[in-house]
């Protein structure tokens, strides 16, 4: 009865908060403990995407960011060229940095101007619900 009243008046047990904080802090701890895993993940990510588009490997950024109640993987992968639907390459025009359109800021927020290519940001939530959208 008393628990019911507590809940009625908005008393959320601290154990719920604790469990969530613990889940997130352990994810962060595990990542901090596995820099090689992160490097490998970055390499594989780049490989997979490179099968479909040509990317600028020098400028790739992959980071983990705390967002509200989740941990997210944010990747910024500048694209140099995209195959035509029938498989032929488009001209690689962006080897020289072009004029800046309003570049979308990278998720990491370092304000460097990026070459004006279509940026694709791939968001992955880490955890069992992670799903990769097909390219």
């Amino acid at each position: 009865m008393i628990e019911f009243l507590k809940r009625l008046f908005g008393h959320q047990g601290s154990s719920t908060t604790a469990k969530e904080r613990l889940r997130l802090v352990l994810m962060t701890d595990h990542l901090e403990l596995a820099p090689e895993m992160i490097e490998q993940m970055k390499r594989e990510l780049v490989e997979v995407i490179s099968r479909h588009v040509e990317v600028d490997r020098e400028r790739i950024e992959v980071n983990f960011e705390r967002q509200d109640r989740t941990l997210a993987l944010l990747a910024n992968i500048p694209i140099i060229s995209v195959n035509r639907p029938n498989g032929k390459h488009e001209a690689a025009a962006a080897s020289k940095p072009a004029k800046a359109e309003s570049p979308k800021k990278a998720a990491t927020g370092n304000g460097e101007a990026k070459p004006p290519t279509r940026k694709r940001r791939r968001r992955k939530k880490s955890g069992p619900q992670a799903s990769t959208a097909p390219a």
Partner: protein, 284 residues
């Protein structure tokens, strides 16, 4: 023409602290007696009195001061990043969520205690003393290198002890190891007055008869601590809680205020007594 006697100029009140801050290590030997909780709460209480405080988590590899303060999501750099000159101190210091003038320097989670160089730790603590009124160092359990590094830069020590034989034995060992450089002050934590009354737990007098240290504070076993750690909100934020108030009293004593000496907390009415009063009111 008179000769003006040269006088030492008074440091301006708003200048950087003219006197060095106090570097205090919180240690115990035994784990789980409340060093980290005490560091977080004492830091909070001191900051709320207007002192500037930095807390260092020296438990490399098993950091927890961040999570007790609710700051775990804000840790980007840690102690070893600073000691190894990868980042500046300003980049690594994390401002507390709840209290002004309170900062945390987190431990590294993926490193080991033996990667900390004692001399660098000393230098860090010295430089922090120039910036803060208090540098609180949360010492890891044990008496090995982790302990020695935590103690290295400190000029004062607080030993935390629970009223249990193993804890008292370990504190005794630690006090011996701290040696003549320190005159440690004692905080007795997790006292259960009910059990002391029944003779099932050592009393404050029992503990201090063995340790013979100046008593800085006595804290009762407090289930709210679990809740506040769950939430990442130190109990010292709530002065109306007996234990929260006790942390403030400890801060005041530490600062040299004229505060009454620590008293064991009052015995709460037993469950039996409370049921008795309930049953007495209505007929079963």
């Amino acid at each position: 023409m008179h000769q003006v006697e040269s006088i030492q100029p008074e440091p301006a009140a708003s200048a950087a602290p003219a006197k060095l801050g106090r570097a205090i290590v919180l240690t115990s030997g035994k784990g789980g007696v409340g060093k980290t909780t005490t560091t977080a709460n004492l830091g909070t209480a001191l900051a709320r009195r207007g002192s500037s405080v930095v807390m260092i988590d020296a438990d490399v590899g098993l950091r927890n001061l961040d999570i007790v303060l609710g700051l775990e999501s804000r840790v980007t750099h840690h102690l070893l990043d600073v000691l190894e000159d990868r980042v500046t101190l300003d980049d690594a210091l994390i401002a507390d969520k709840h209290s002004e003038n309170l900062f945390l320097l987190a431990a590294a989670q993926s490193r080991e205690k033996d990667e900390v160089e004692t001399s660098k730790m000393q230098a860090l603590v010295s430089s922090l003393r120039e910036r803060f009124d208090y540098v609180l160092i949360d010492c890891p359990a044990g008496i090995e290198l982790g302990f020695r590094n935590a103690v290295a830069g400190a000029d004062e020590a607080i030993v935390v002890c629970t009223p249990e034989v193993s804890a008292v034995r370990d504190v005794d060992r630690v006090v011996g190891l701290l040696g003549n450089r320190f005159r440690p002050q004692l905080v007795i934590n997790r006292l259960r007055p009910q059990l002391v009354k029944k003779g099932k737990m050592l009393s404050v007098e029992d503990v201090n008869a063995i340790l013979r240290l100046p008593l800085l504070g006595v804290l009762a076993e407090e289930p709210e601590i679990v809740v506040t750690t769950n939430r990442g909100e130190p109990l010292a934020l709530h002065k109306n809680n007996a234990t929260g108030a006790a942390y403030h009293a400890i801060a005041a004593r530490l600062a040299g205020d004229d505060v009454p000496p620590p008293m064991p907390p009052a015995v709460k009415p037993t469950l039996f007594e409370r049921i008795g009063s309930l049953v007495g009111r209505k007929r079963t």
